[in-house]
């Protein structure tokens, strides 16, 4: 199979207006990827699927990524070919920002395999896929408002008995401690039967 750079050149020749760049992977895996601009992404996807030399008929994996540092959300598609048994070709799509411009074209019309995975990305990251046949929350309940996989997601403070807190958990737990702090672990009153008072 051709290299990522060759593929990019071929795609640029086929889709002259498209912005396509190679994201190099510095790690030992060296799985480089193609960063596409959202608008021609579906046409490129169809081309990749149908091109006789590539025939990437199988979309294995759809991943959402939150990049607060880059100020965008990203979707990564891992494509393989079942017919020619090669791959992966990795596609990346990025939203404009993380707040209001979070739409990307859905690739579900190209590969059915994206259906549930894109719903999951929508649920957990809040990326809106246009022309997705059934874009609803998949893992969380419908009334849920947040996108929990984003890096800045704050979990609900459903504190309970945290006997072994440290780090962030301790910080959270401390918010629920009674006002009068007692040195050590001892706690008067109802907890007298709890292990907290054990020596």
């Amino acid at each position: 199979m051709e290299t990522t750079d060759q593929l990019r050149d071929r795609l640029l020749a086929r889709f002259p207006g498209a912005e396509i760049s190679v994201v190099t992977n510095p790690g030992p895996a060296a799985q480089h990827s193609l960063l596409l601009s959202p608008s021609p992404a579906r046409d490129i996807a169809v081309f990749l699927r149908d091109d006789p030399a590539l025939r990437l008929d199988y979309c294995s994996n759809v991943t959402g990524i939150d990049w607060p540092t880059l100020g965008c959300l990203e979707v990564v598609y891992h494509l393989y070919s079942m017919a020619l048994k090669h791959g992966p070709v990795i596609l990346r799509l990025r939203t404009t920002n993380r707040t209001d411009a979070v739409t990307l074209p859905s690739l579900t019309p190209v590969w059915r395999a994206c259906e549930f995975q894109e719903r999951e990305v929508f649920d957990l990251y809040g990326i809106v896929f246009t022309e997705h046949p059934d874009l609803r929350r998949i893992l969380m309940w419908d009334e849920f408002k947040d996108h929990p996989m984003r890096k800045d997601y704050v979990e609900p403070d459903d504190y309970e008995w945290e006997p072994t807190p440290h780090g962030g958990v301790l910080e959270k737990a401390k918010r629920h401690y009674p006002a009068a702090p007692v040195a050590g672990v001892a706690d008067p009153g109802p907890a007298s039967a709890s292990p907290a008072t054990k020596p």
Partner: protein
């Protein structure tokens, strides 16, 4: 009576009970007969949540055979079940259904929290969608720690439950829930909120002791 424990959860020991039996109090005999019956016929609800459910199934299979205790009748309908084995992680999305199932079961009913997740959320405790223990919403009789507990541990939990049932007094303040007028067998089902379950715990069931840990600034 099982051989494995001499002290019952309620503090009555076997010799005590023998003594009571000798006195031939009718109520005691009735009570014991009733408790004998229901403790030996604990039919679990066919209800699995996660990994522990596989060990629960394994416990009903040939190697461990929960049938020996008369408990292999896993009823698919909560109406005919006596025991809710919460076998696995209860997520916040699932919690209302579990409470509903519990409400649909007729009294006397028992609940076993099997495995770390059901007790406290376990290893997934810090997850945003994981309920930190089913005892926030329904009363739990037996806790079986482990991740997952061995099938033998489930059998041990079942025997502990049987011992607990046998030790129950039918009258007085220690009477089981279904024989007391001041308790309800119906528990409020939490609603899905915008960020969390509402309420996140049922304060009538859930009273955790406060435990404070200080900052680890030393050394």
């Amino acid at each position: 009576m099982s051989d494995f424990a001499t002290t019952l959860p309620t503090g009555i020991t076997e010799p005590d009970r023998d003594e009571l039996r000798r006195q031939g109090i009718l109520l005691t005999s009735l009570e014991e007969f009733y408790n004998w019956g229901r403790s030996n016929s604990v039919w679990p609800l066919q209800f699995g949540l996660a990994c522990c459910a596989i060990e629960m199934i394994a416990a009903s299979m040939a190697r461990f055979d929960i049938a020996r205790f008369g408990s292999e009748v896993f009823r698919p309908s909560p109406r005919q079940a006596d025991l809710l084995i919460v076998s696995g992680t209860v997520t916040k999305k699932m919690a209302p259904q579990v409470v509903r199932l519990w409400n649909q079961m007729p009294e006397p009913k028992y609940c076993i929290a099997m495995g770390a997740c059901a007790i406290s959320g376990g290893p997934f405790k810090q997850g945003y969608n994981v309920l930190k223990g089913i005892d926030r919403f329904i009363p739990v009789d037996i806790y079986i720690p482990g991740c997952p507990p061995r099938p033998e541990a489930l059998l041990h939990g079942l025997m502990t439950l049987q011992e607990k049932i046998r030790g129950q007094k039918l009258t007085g303040p220690d009477a089981p829930r279904h024989l007391r007028a001041d308790t309800t067998c119906d528990y409020p089902v939490p609603e899905f909120g915008e960020h969390d379950l509402e309420p996140p715990a049922n304060s009538a069931v859930w009273q955790a002791p406060t435990m404070m840990r200080k900052e680890k600034g030393q050394a």
